[in-house]
Symmetry: C2
Subunit: 132 residues, 2 copies
DNA sequence: ACATTGCCTGTTATATCATTACATAACCGG
DNA sequence: CCGGTTATGTAATGATATAACAGGCAATGT
């Protein structure tokens, strides 16, 4: 399945996220003119599109923000984390393969079999590093 | 400030979390008999106690679960992450100082100044590693 | 004593995030 | 055509979290 196989709703949602420089919640997406104009008007419509896009790794969910971003790095060979500026919300992907190794052995030492990892970092981007 | 300085509400909430072997949401806490019996009956009462307990590092929030756990390791010298079993919900703390180092330099390479890190891992505990 | 301050509390309402339930349509391989 | 799967529409509800405002209560300074 490639991105050209996306349904109309999925395309609309993906485009909304791609066009944003910050993570958007499902309701943020729903409120966009470009989305409303396409006839999407119920939360479930957005969430269903997001579910599919996440499964395709075209979109990531950021747990600590309850928000979503378009993937800007194509298929991932290693797990991905996120770094968000807590002033301007700018968010970038961080490869976290190195973390995964550490975590996997740490989990193993505690008798856990690791499945999924969530790594989310907040701080300040270059533009925002000074000031409020 | 020590834990003996906690207010009544804070003590009730902390005790509820300490007595659970799985993370609890604010509403889970609110629904507990032992909590209701103490007169706590509004979500805000629970959230306020949780805020304070988190500030004291007596309680941690797990972003990916929207839930809270009592800290079982006292004051932390390094950042802490969590490993949760996605079948039985058992959750343990994982020290993530090693991850922090990796993330800090990765963030720095991208012009970010790192502040707070969230590391949450899911998988299966020993008891649950086989089966559904 | 009195006012000031800070912190905790109670109550109500509201905001924000996400899913359930059920019906309908579209698509595809027998 | 039939039966299975996937996508969609619509409405209602559930789950998580905060806003706004009033009042209590102890510590502090004068
Ligand atoms: Zn990505
Ligand atoms: Zn910024
Ligand atoms: Zn802890
Ligand atoms: Zn388990």
């Amino acid at each position: 399945m490639t991105s050209s196989d996306l349904t109309r709703n999925q395309q609309v949602v993906l485009k909304a996220l791609s066009g944003s420089n910050v993570p958007l919640s499902a309701y943020d997406i729903l409120d966009l003119e470009q989305v409303r104009d396409q006839g999407l008007k119920a939360p479930l419509t957005i969430y269903r599109a997001l579910d599919k896009l996440q499964a395709l790794e075209l979109v990531h969910r950021i747990e600590s923000l309850n928000a979503f971003v378009a993937c800007d790095h194509g298929p991932h060979s290693e797990p991905v984390g996120f770094m968000s500026c807590d002033r301007c919300r700018k968010t970038i992907e961080l490869p976290v393969g190195a973390c995964e190794d550490v975590l996997r052995s740490s989990a193993k030492a505690n008798g856990f079999k690791l499945d999924r990892i969530t790594v989310e970092v907040s701080g300040r981007c270059t533009d925002c590093v000074e000031g409020t």
